[in-house]
């Protein structure tokens, strides 16, 4: 179709619609911010269970839509980010006031309000679930802005949780999703002054744009994970963990190992152990062949994101055993021009051999000079001295010890907060240095009594500022002369409970009639 008015700049159609979503989210967040903990838990649990129900189906759909990863592993992540997150935080309370009578302080949790969540194509459904769960646990309204490669599956994921949440009493519009993302729309959302915080998981450009937006932002930088194996390590166990972690979802988590650094004394044993676990160690011309496939000049060719080791080997013309799960590519020195030392979101693991643990720490630092500062690293070692030296020298904010880094630094196989969003802190130009968790989406209003004791803090323990909503939020706007409409009598009058119940039933009935 020819555009007859082509030379006149028109705002892309989605942009005004996006602004309307922010406005709706603002209304929803105002209502949500008054909810009590029981209702919040009911809503979060319902959303989590809805996520779990579609975890497998959306795992398959995500692989189909994006071409990245392994459906079965995606299912695991989807479960971890729905009911997994619920189980982790079900006994936490980000809602009720916290009393510190000894210090004369009461903390009243206050949600951020409207959260804009940018989600990546690599872990689409899991990240959508994760951010929605955090928003629900903290009474925030959230607008999911998915990567265009994964827009369909992210829309489905968000709708699944939104429907369950609203059915469990969440305010209408507290979970929304941009179905047709575009650069102008994302820009309009991020710079909208009504947005309270942007939580950006994605490419560096997107994360920097979030910080430039003028709105508060929690952005996380990319990873490039060094994993060191020293001479004290349990070699067989290390090999097992590294291969499993590198093969998990075909290395699509940003916490996947990128460069294996092995102390010379352990190198031969580790190589043999890696082979036993399904690693194929490349040699000679094979290395250049794989590099030729993976790197398009000076950058990683994203066509290989989340592809399998066998697909990559085949493209490089290398015959590998049928049970091959990862490719290991040895290289001599960690320097910027060595492409194997860069981040690789596919099951190819660079490997350097170092003469000592101290030189290994230098190599790990060199990996992070290329990219991934503030992110994560792993070490397999029995020596606390080496581990401390590693952790205090390498510029990362989490060091996973004797565990695969993919799920280790992501908090799924460690006691770090389970997350799809790794705060890279000051090292990585981010405002958060921890794994993103619910507490990052609230502030506390602190009631503070004088420290010199001239005015004692009364007992606040019976005071609950929040309450359960009386019905659907917002209520359907029934005409004020119809039965069931709100009257002068206040709804929170306890003597009116029965009347409220009847009123609710009438409202429901009327709604059915109006729908029908």
């Amino acid at each position: 179709m020819t555009a007859l008015l082509a030379d006149i700049p028109l705002e892309p159609a989605g942009v005004p619609r996006g602004r309307a979503m922010v406005e709706r989210a603002q209304w929803a967040s105002l209502a949500f911010a008054t909810y009590d903990i029981e209702t919040v838990r009911r809503i979060a649990q319902a959303a989590a269970e809805a996520g779990e129900r579609v975890a497998a189906e959306l795992g398959i759909a995500a692989v189909e839509e994006t071409g990245f990863g392994v459906a079965e592993h995606k299912k695991l992540k989807n479960v971890a980010c729905s009911v997994g997150i619920w189980n982790t935080y079900r006994d936490h309370d980000y809602v009720s006031p916290v009393l510190h009578p000894d210090r004369g302080i009461v903390e009243v949790p206050r949600p951020a309000g409207v959260v804009i969540a940018l989600t990546p194509s690599t872990n689409p459904v899991a990240t959508v679930f994760f951010k929605i769960m955090l928003a629900l646990l903290t009474r925030n309204a959230i607008i999911i802005c998915p990567h265009p490669f994964a827009k369909r599956v992210c829309t489905e994921a968000a709708h699944a949780m939104a429907e369950a949440a609203v059915a469990a009493g969440a305010p209408d519009g507290c979970i929304q999703v941009v179905e047709e993302p575009s650069i102008p729309l994302v820009n309009a959302l991020m710079t909208d002054a009504r947005v309270d915080v942007i939580v950006a998981t994605g490419g560096t450009a997107m994360v920097r744009a979030a910080y430039r937006s003028g709105n508060p932002a929690i952005g996380v930088g990319p990873g490039n994970v060094p994993v060191m194996v020293d001479a004290t390590a349990d070699i067989a166990a290390a090999a097992h963990r590294i291969v499993a972690s590198k093969a998990f979802d075909n290395s699509i988590l940003c916490t996947n190992e990128s460069v294996l650094i092995v102390e010379e004394k352990a190198a031969a044993g580790l190589e043999a152990a890696l082979r036993r676990e399904g690693a194929y160690v490349l040699a000679g011309e094979e290395i250049d062949a794989v590099k030729g496939v993976m790197f398009d000049g000076t950058s990683f060719d994203t066509a290989w994101v989340g592809k399998s080791a066998k697909q990559i080997a085949e493209a490089a013309g290398i015959k590998v055993p049928a049970n091959t799960r990862i490719l290991v590519a040895p290289f001599p020195l960690v320097v910027p021009e060595e492409m194997l030392a860069h981040e690789k979101l596919c099951p190819v693991l660079g490997m350097v051999v170092v003469p000592s643990a101290a030189r290994g720490i230098d190599a790990a630092r060199a990996v992070l000079r290329i990219s991934g500062a503030g992110h994560s690293a792993a070490i397999h070692s029995e020596d606390a001295v080496t581990i401390m030296a590693f952790a205090s020298a390498v510029p990362v904010l989490r060091v996973a010890v004797n565990v695969g880094n993919s799920l280790g630094s992501a908090g799924i196989e460690t006691h770090l907060a389970p997350t799809m969003t790794i705060g890279t802190g000051f090292f990585g130009r981010s405002s958060v240095g921890e794994n993103l968790e619910p507490k990052h989406l609230i502030n506390m209003t602190r009631i503070a009594y004088p420290s010199h004791g001239s005015s004692a803090m009364p007992d606040f323990s019976a005071l609950q500022p929040w309450h359960e909503p009386a019905g659907a939020v917002p209520p359907y706007p029934i005409a004020s002369n119809m039965e069931g409409a709100p009257s002068l009598v206040r709804a929170d009058d306890p003597q009116d409970e029965l009347r409220d119940e009847i009123r609710r039933m009438v409202v429901e009935e009327l709604r059915e009639i109006l729908r029908g």
């Binding site: 005004p16 917002p474 706007p477 004020s480 002369n481 002068l488």
Partner: protein, 446 residues
Amino acid sequence: MGIDLVRFFGMLVHVTDTDSADYDYGVFSFASKAEVLDKAKEYWNPGKTQFWIDSGVPLVIDRREEYYLWDMSGKRLIDLHLNGGTYNLGHRNPEVVQALTVAMQHFDMGNHHFPALARTALAEALVTSAPAGLSKVIYGSGGGEAIDIALKTARHATQKRKIVSIAKAYHGHTGLAVGTGDDRFSKLFLADQPEEFPHVPFNDLNAMEEALRGRDVAAVIMETIPATYGFPLPDPGYLHAVKKLCQEFDALYIADEVQTGLMRTGELWGIAKEGIQPDILVTGKGISGGMYPIACVLVRDEHAGWLTEDGFGHISTFGGAELGCIAAIKALEICSRPETRSMVHYIADRVGTGLRAIQAEYPDWFVGIRQNGVILGLEFHHPQGAKYVMRQLYENGVWAIFSTLDPRVLQFKPGILLKPEVVDEVLDRTEVAIGRAYREAMGGRS
């Protein structure tokens, strides 16, 4: 004019510290607000101009934006009158402005004799959005003309003359529409025709049946909630019963949705929210976002015979002006968004809750709240109560109008895109104004 109040909430409009300060609007200019008021009386409408001065609302609207108006003095007002819903989407809604600005590089009003691009596109959009059965669109240049078209269509379809309307109704002041309203406006121009335009009391089914029983009525015309009468709400079941009586006695049911359509009840059309499929639906005012006049009549194929019999049967140069159609396509799209619907429900809830809290403080003064969505009539215990409240609201930066035909009742009409913080501000201001009006009406000082 002396020293004007130029800074109101930090909004600087025109610096006017002497009579000679110039209000320059490009194609015209004035030296002062006083000059405008004097010349409005001299060259335009002395009665209306004086009425507002005497009512304590000497408003000359200058700048307009979102739901704000600025008087020439610089005084800012939050608009809860919306000119009967004309500014439902706010003043100069940026999306409507943009759609029109772009369209003006290509379109003008169009030629009303020919089939036209924008007219056809809007007609399709309206039919798609409308209650089932409505299938053709006829355009007027304003609400009154559209009502006339509706009445003409009903007369043609039924070959009967009588039109039944509600006593104290208001459907416009054009040739036929004026007959449906209060005789104050028809007698003035010797246009009263009580035989052809019987009026029946609202919410009185016996009277309605009596009026229809003779089977000589072409149509009953009703606003879904009568605006100018202060939005008295139809009793539960009343509109359904009227529709049934129409069917029984072969009269058409015309829904005047000029003020109750466009999401103001929380559904796109108030009559659809009632679950009624009217024979004819009229929309105007807000349909074109307050930017370019247009009004529309939606009819069923079975009553649209004249469009085939003589397509030139109703001619109006400006009716269906294409720029108006373009503004309307945009306005209709904004009103129809799920986000908009959700927000209206939130706004209605917050406004209703806030007003009930104020009511609880003045139970014997602020005696009633009539509400359906963001359509509200506030009842005060004084024959002219709403005039006191209107004046105090004006003093307090809110513009809401009393009901001409029932001045106990204040029309209180929040916009459908009103932001939460503005809703809260409106409630704060309203609480103070209602209190002051109470003391004033009860004889004390405000």
